[in-house]
Subunit: 403 residues, 2 copies
């Protein structure tokens, strides 16, 4: 893969418009030996027809055999090496609700939880707390003051919230207080390393938890907080800075909006449905030159083990392909961030099929958009980090390397 | 390729069992243009049938165009970067006979040789000395004392033995005394670099050779030693430490037993034949969760230039595939460590075909296990270092990378 530094040297502006359509968890495996994956089961005449005019291939999100979380998988698609840029869940969650980070802030995810009188956890999600009640409690916890640090508590949804600590000499290298099961006590937050920063931040986090416990003690259900996914925010170079792209994200789930914001995309308001997302794309198409368009439900149904519903979502997306192509993008890439085979009910390591269409793509002989067909595609087997350079090249946005 | 550090973070225990079946020097080339390789000539109904249910591909042992020795080729298959971990032949040979190294020991291979009265070599192998005689001579040479260093001389087989120097400030960066041909004088051992350590170890080695020459002067045949493959021992992290695998090796040649020991495998007692090896596999199958099963003779016949016998060995292995599959391993990989085309009578740079079978492998359309078919396999063209992550993923032993 080419380094970001070199890519930055080569990028130039142009009027071309590119779309990166990500079907989350697209890749699958078959239910029976010799059977078909979700994508192969789905009727996808429009994607297949697009594949005929495209160059195709297979994409490894990270490396052979490695199953990625959504954060690293997306960073990789956006051209940011996920091994170099390791973004913790706390930061991703906070970015997802649009939290305005400053460098070296430390974030963690909060679960409102229920503990019994003896302090043992009885429900790690406080009965999937009402979102409004969550908002009220966050407003109160947001007033907690601890000398030497600023604290921000923000509501997310149901039992989920986030906390951000801002101050000098903080570290995100901390263990969770959430033991990940009921029937036991919350754990003290501990530092993963011996630095003064990590020890001091662990002390702060534990003090914060104590303050929360005091405030919440009069609550019947949400009478405790559990913290996990501590991470320090570290700003990334923006897609504008690296690629000279005016990039927009159309994604309706907080975490994906968060990753997009992290790489400097404008995160557009869009509704909940695929139709809403496509309306947003059409409405904003003249205003940006790169669109990240995210479809979440392929992954959700994969994680639920619902093969048929995943097939259905793929078919639904397929029906909208002509609508997208009518916008006449110069480049469109369709792929997944990782595989989520319904039979595994989880993310997996399997590569995703990819198609890239542009006037200049050099179409291959692949005639269908599927795992088994794209194996023989003209792109070969690539890493997700190769996708942005290929988009930029096909968008005629990359200068020659060397004379 | 993913780094070993990250892989170590991601590995978890499980009850799954994996087999890595290595046909040494498997890959070949045809005798006539447009003809068939050894593997393509062999009748392999069982491997072909397994390929139908597997994902396949091509594997480069080190890098395009690079012909590996057996040591680096195996390290790579075991997931250890052979560029980073350079193990000299002397160390490998000593490991092969179970020598118990201490860190920074320096080892070299010994050939018992015959020299004429003027000192010129007449036979580099002392008439392929009797193994028992070899043992007697090694016992005598083992008594050589040189101040400041401990010396261990151990018999291997026929004309082959090893010597290990133990002490402070030694170096393995030395040239051979073996000129690799008869009719000339043995060479003095020289240091490859200007360090005090290398110069001092060269001096020790030359003094050792002088002592040997004195002791052996009354011998008619084995009246000299030739040293080659100097190398310093450097312990590797074990497969248990990195992969959390309880790994066993079934290999009947010393060097492969040595490499397996180097990465912390338990080296099982097994007989000389393929049948013996498979009996060992069956007997020990419940006791380990990873098996490295090594077939040597594909390589031996390749090096002999015996195309037909190499074909025969492949067919023999094929007949045993059902026996292996009856053990019901969760993952099986079949490949070579490098190619040894009979027409080249030597190791070569050609990639090897690979098949990986597991419940989760996402089978491709390849219907035969061969070089020309596996080119179109779903794994694509991978590096041998990718094999362990793929085995671990398919064995459901890898956690997700990032959130």
């Amino acid at each position: 893969m080419i380094s970001m530094d070199i890519l930055k040297e080569l990028c130039q502006k142009s009027n071309s418009k590119s779309i990166l359509l990500v079907l989350d968890g697209l890749g699958g495996i078959s239910r029976i030996p010799d059977g078909k994956t979700e994508l192969e089961t789905a009727s996808t005449p429009n994607l297949d027809s697009l594949a005929c005019n495209s160059i195709t291939g297979m994409v490894d999100p990270i490396s052979k055999g490695i199953t990625p979380g959504s954060g690293p998988a997306h960073l990789s698609l956006f051209g940011y090496d996920p091994i170099k840029y390791r973004i913790g869940r706390g930061v991703l969650s906070a970015l997802g609700i649009g939290f305005d980070f400053q460098p070296s802030d430390v974030a963690a995810r909060i679960n409102f939880a229920t503990v019994a009188e003896d302090g043992r956890i009885t429900d790690r999600r406080a009965g999937r707390l009402d979102t409004e009640k969550n908002g009220q409690l966050c407003s109160i916890l947001n007033r907690i003051k601890i000398p030497g640090v600023e604290i921000f508590v923000r509501t997310v949804k149901e039992h989920r919230a986030i906390v951000v600590f801002r101050g000098n000499g903080l570290s995100g290298d901390l263990t969770d207080s959430d033991p990940q099961r009921a029937g036991v006590f919350p754990l003290p937050v501990r530092s993963h390393n011996d630095t003064r920063e990590a020890k001091e931040t662990a002390r702060l986090a534990n003090r914060f938890i104590e303050e929360c416990r005091g405030i919440l003690s009069k609550e019947e259900v949400a009478n405790m907080v559990l913290l996990r996914g501590f991470a320090q925010f570290c700003p990334l170079p923006s897609m504008h800075e690296i690629y000279k792209l005016n990039a927009a994200a159309i994604a309706n789930y907080p975490m994906y909006r968060g990753v997009a914001r992290l790489v400097g995309m404008t995160v557009l308001d869009c509704g909940e449905s695929i139709e809403d997302e496509l309306d947003t794309l059409a409405r904003e198409f003249q205003n940006y030159d790169f669109f990240y368009l995210h479809i979440k439900k392929t992954d959700s149904y994969g994680e639920d083990g619902d093969f048929d519903q995943k097939v259905h979502i793929i078919e639904k997306v397929d029906k909208h392909i002509p609508q997208i192509m009518n916008l006449d993008p110069d480049v469109i890439v369709v792929t997944g961030d990782h595989s989520t085979p319904a039979v595994l009910t989880a993310h997996s390591w399997h590569p995703n099929p990819v198609l890239l269409y542009s006037r200049w793509c050099r179409p291959d002989k692949v005639r269908a958009f599927s795992e088994s067909e794209c194996i023989n595609g003209g792109l070969g087997h690539i890493n997700a980090l190769d996708i942005m350079p290929l988009i930029l090249a096909n968008a005629l946005r990359l200068n020659k390397f060397g004379a």
